[in-house]
């Protein structure tokens, strides 16, 4: 139970939409410095877990803890204050902002984001430092050459990478990544792997990854839970779970196992 004081801990969560039960009594631990992947078929409730943690919906029952502190009063706009940040399945970048502005806007506690900040030299000094850090983050996913281009003009794959970098730029201790590889061309997947390895694991963040790309999960995840029909059918070590016969039968199928 020591993990509950370290990273994200979802405790006996139940959720239903009207009469439809999404999941019942599920618990997941996503400790710091580790990537916890959640896999399962469409409609299993993976994104709903992220939505509940971020305060989009209240759960029917259950609690969520960050570093041992129970979350209450979380709303989508104050998640970062609680140490959480999410990415979306669709990219939701700011199309008229440049790529670097997309990253900059995500950075917390910017003095220059108030009217008084316009007249204080500290705000502009901080802006220069933030810009440097944003360039460093863009370099990590080979987007430095697109830094000054409008994000809306970038190809989908680059927008997706940008949305991941943006989530990391918030400085959140817990990242909830919703299908970061969905729609990405295969040559961009290594960037996602590198990003998660270098910027997430190395900086001690707890990462809860919802993903269908099993190869990506195999490369970055430390542990997996498999959600199927409202319950967790397997969890734990990556290889052991992927080799589990119930998981193969109910989700992965024999093709993957070959």
């Amino acid at each position: 139970m020591t993990l509950r004081n370290n990273g994200l801990y979802i405790d006996r969560l139940s959720m239903n939409f009207g009469g439809v039960v999404v999941f019942e009594d599920i618990s997941i631990e996503a400790p710091s410095s580790k990537v916890t992947a959640c896999i399962g078929p469409n409609g299993a409730g993976k994104t709903t877990i992220i939505n509940i943690v971020c305060g989009v919906f209240p759960p029917r029952t259950g609690k969520v803890y960050i570093d041992g502190v129970q979350l209450s009063g979380v709303r989508p706009f104050n998640t970062v204050r609680y140490g959480l940040c999410r990415s979306f399945q669709d990219v939701r970048i700011f199309p008229s902002l440049t790529a670097i502005e997309n990253v900059l806007v995500a950075m917390p506690n910017q003095g220059g984001e108030s009217l008084s900040g316009l007249f204080l030299p500290g705000g502009w000094r901080q802006e220069r430092a933030n810009r440097e850090r944003a360039r460093h983050l863009l370099q990590a996913v080979a987007l430095e050459s697109a830094a000054e281009r409008a994000a809306g003009e970038l190809p989908f794959g680059q927008q997706k990478l940008l949305s991941l970098v943006r989530a990391i730029a918030t400085g959140a201790r817990v990242l909830l990544l919703d299908e970061p590889a969905a729609g990405l061309e295969s040559d961009l997947i290594p960037h996602v792997v590198d990003l998660i390895r270098s910027l997430v694991k190395a900086e001690g963040r707890a990462t809860f990854l919802v993903e269908h790309n099993i190869e990506l999960v195999r490369q970055v995840a430390d542990q997996i839970c498999v959600l199927q029909a409202g319950r967790i059918i397997a969890s734990g070590d990556v290889q052991r779970v992927l080799d589990d016969q119930t998981v193969i039968r109910e989700y992965l199928g024999q093709v993957y196992n070959v």
């Binding site: 971020c54 706009f77 939701r92 700011f94 806007v105 910017q110 984001e113 900040g117 705000g123």
Partner: protein, 286 residues
């Protein structure tokens, strides 16, 4: 010459209004159709304090813009629950409500008959210094607005306009930026209202009807959304165009309707062919 100075002063006043409207509409994506309400609040508070209570004009102007800003914040808060088309419709309601308030203030501030007799300081008392002072204030406002939009705050405003849900997911409440810029813009518009009163020497409720709010939309629509230059350009071109009608020799009863028809046509052509206006950086289809 006297008339040219008067026109120049009007251009400066409307430039301030257009700059403020562009902050909320062009940069933050909040479709305001009620900016004339805040123009009226600024004008009425400034004129009332100055004429009826004998308050120094500059102090009255300052109080007028502060009260316009406060009124802006108060009127916006309930509107934050709604979005898009309904938000625009509600701002229209603000304009109607404040027109009625101005109209029914009688007899204390002479209501629908308007207010006369401002006690103006030297810098605003005659045409040339009034023109210079108002232009100086408009330039200062343009520089301030440009500083806002090029700062991290301006970036957050554009992010609020593009994807408020995504901004919220990054831990920043878009409503904070909406309230901040709406309040600031209402304050600037209130300041313009006080200067408008000083320019005309006289105010009455008909100056602050929906026509005035639409006029502001046309100015920034023609000049360009999300552009400080666009705000200035739109006002200069349209007021200059308006004045040029004088030289067509039209009977005076046709000038008003002709002008409105041209403005309407301009809006239609803009929507079809150039939604960003002349130098704009944003349009609502994005």
């Amino acid at each position: 010459m006297e008339h040219l100075l008067y026109i120049g002063t009007l251009i400066a006043v409307w430039t301030i209004v257009a700059l403020a409207a562009n902050l909320v509409i062009g940069y933050t994506g909040m479709m305001s159709m009620g900016q004339a309400a805040y123009l009226g609040v600024g004008a009425y508070v400034t004129a009332t304090l100055n004429i009826l209570l004998g308050v120094n004009f500059y102090l009255a102007l300052l109080i007028g813009s502060i009260i316009a800003a406060v009124v802006g914040a108060i009127t916006l808060l309930p509107l934050l629950r709604i979005g898009g088309f309904y938000f625009a419709l509600a701002t229209l309601g603000i304009n109607f409500v404040f027109f009625d308030i101005f109209h029914n203030l009688a007899p204390r501030v002479e209501g629908s008959e308007g207010l006369y007799g401002l006690q103006l300081p030297d810098l605003l008392a005659s045409s040339a210094p009034r023109f210079a002072t108002t232009v100086a204030v408009a330039i200062a406002c343009a520089m301030l607005c440009q500083a806002v939009v090029t700062s991290p705050l301006g970036r957050a405003l554009r992010a609020t306009r593009d994807r408020p849900d995504a901004l919220a997911a990054l831990g920043k409440d878009p409503r904070r930026y909406q309230v901040l810029i709406w309040t600031f813009a209402a304050g600037l518009t209130g300041l313009a209202g006080g200067l408008y009163a000083a320019t005309l020497f006289y105010i009455d409720p008909t100056l602050f009807t929906l026509d005035a709010s639409i006029l502001v939309l046309v100015y920034i629509g023609v000049g360009g959304l999300a552009s400080t230059t666009g705000s200035v350009l739109g006002v200069i071109l349209l007021i200059a165009f308006n004045e040029s009608l004088r030289f067509l020799g039209l009977p005076s009863q046709f000038v008003g309707p002709f002008q409105q028809a041209i403005y309407g046509l301009l809006l239609i052509l803009l929507m079809i062919f150039r939604r960003r206006g002349l130098v704009g950086k944003y349009d609502f289809t994005e």
